[in-house]
Symmetry: C2
Subunit: 295 residues, 2 copies
Amino acid sequence: MKTVKTIQDVCECIAGWRRDGLSIGFVPTMGYLHEGHQSLINRAAENDRIVLSIFVNPMQFGQNEDLASYPRDLERDSRLCEENGVDLIFYPEPEEMYGADFCSYVDMSVLTEELCGLSRPVHFRGVCTVVLKLFNIVTPDRAYFGEKDAQQLAIIKRMVKDLNINVEVIGCPIVREMDGLAKSSRNTYLNTEERKAALVLYGGIQIGKKLIKDGERDAVALIKEIKGYIEKEPLAKIDYLKAVDAMTMSQVEKLDRRVLVAMAVFIGKTRLIDNFTFDFEDETINYQKGNGPKD
Amino acid sequence: MKTVKTIQDVCECIAGWRRDGLSIGFVPTMGYLHEGHQSLINRAAENDRIVLSIFVNPMQFGQNEDLASYPRDLERDSRLCEENGVDLIFYPEPEEMYGADFCSYVDMSVLTEELCGLSRPVHFRGVCTVVLKLFNIVTPDRAYFGEKDAQQLAIIKRMVKDLNINVEVIGCPIVREMDGLAKSSRNTYLNTEERKAALVLYGGIQIGKKLIKDGERDAVALIKEIKGYIEKEPLAKIDYLKAVDAMTMSQVEKLDRRVLVAMAVFIGKTRLIDNFTFDFEDETINYQKGNGPKD
């Protein structure tokens, strides 16, 4: 495994693999890797070579967000990568990605106007721009993203289609702790009390799934029930909790298509996200699979 | 020479050439080709294969602009391409380029905020977005743009650098009519009287170059002189006339770096652009070369 910090070093490595006719899988991350990332790396083993990037992208953080405190541990990340068969880590400094006169951006309408786009207005410009840059640098055949960031995944897929980017984007199921909390680098911010309180996200998802199984088809009623449950937890403060069209991210009233139920909840100062999707059209609940508890 | 209308047909053709290890030159156009385009095609012959796109891109036209009336003549364009060694014409319909749910855009700050960006606010979003799409479809080694659209050229170069697009962008000198008018598809809009009046653009450039030769280093004085000359023509109405930094497109007061003097002038209802650059740092005026009259 090689770790490089410059775009040129990545390109040289990729060019060699391309000459040998090798396929490339790519896992873009912000580091502080956990089992969620590990599942992406393991899936990426369907390619001849695996590239993983670690870049805490300043452009996708708002002014009052956790850019400075975002957890970092390259040594631990490198070990996890090595053990899971990553061939190349790209670990650039911000200056390598954004020159002083940088002024080009990828913007998206529609899909960015709900959920995280509302509470983090600059977030998806940063995500789209850095992902396009990384795609152009790594030129992967396939790229892997977690379904925990469901809106991000939908946005990346839309960008790839709209801008004719030659990469297959693959979403991978949410990986959970044994008690159901979705794995996240930000879980490290939680103290013992908050860690317990954070279970309301998964609890709310369980309630939502049960209501749908029992026949609920009204989005407003569904959201109201989940909201009531989460609000009972004093440490929890809902940022958003919505049922949206899984393709367009626009809010729905009736549960009559493929719907994403997504939430962002502050537990103390830590903002956590979670979600589940279901497709009413074929009556199948798409349970998020993982190593957590079974429904 | 082949002419195709779908992205898939382009990709199949390109994939075959790539398998054979051939290099690809790309000339993106809006059609109604003239000697300016021809000079780009001829330069593109430094590649093994030449792709030319003809697409009157709706996204780069404002509401009150000439999208509907923009001149088109595929038969004539095909002949010119065939004669000049183009291997593939990509001639898509708008629906092929923009699906109904299209919502991804490339935006740029700084460079788009002056000149054409001021009078055509949506223009460069459209240009950047379609050029990125075309680059991703054609995957050229080199792409060729005219220096007549000096701001566009600077913007494309900046986008390629910022977004790590793997293509070499090559600017080619303005080609002029024998009397000095810059070749443009829009010249076809001009009646006999307007065609004569349109010479004020080149006349203004001649005056600007002479002033600089004679030692003028004050941008305001330079622009004032050129403006006075153009305004004597009753059919001419200046949209903009500015001296800007050739890299950032921001207005300059002193002529002390590489400066672009650019203008857009309405002749009747037809908006024409022209420009020249000079580099005060090495005291060399970069005359726009072409088949027009010599200075």
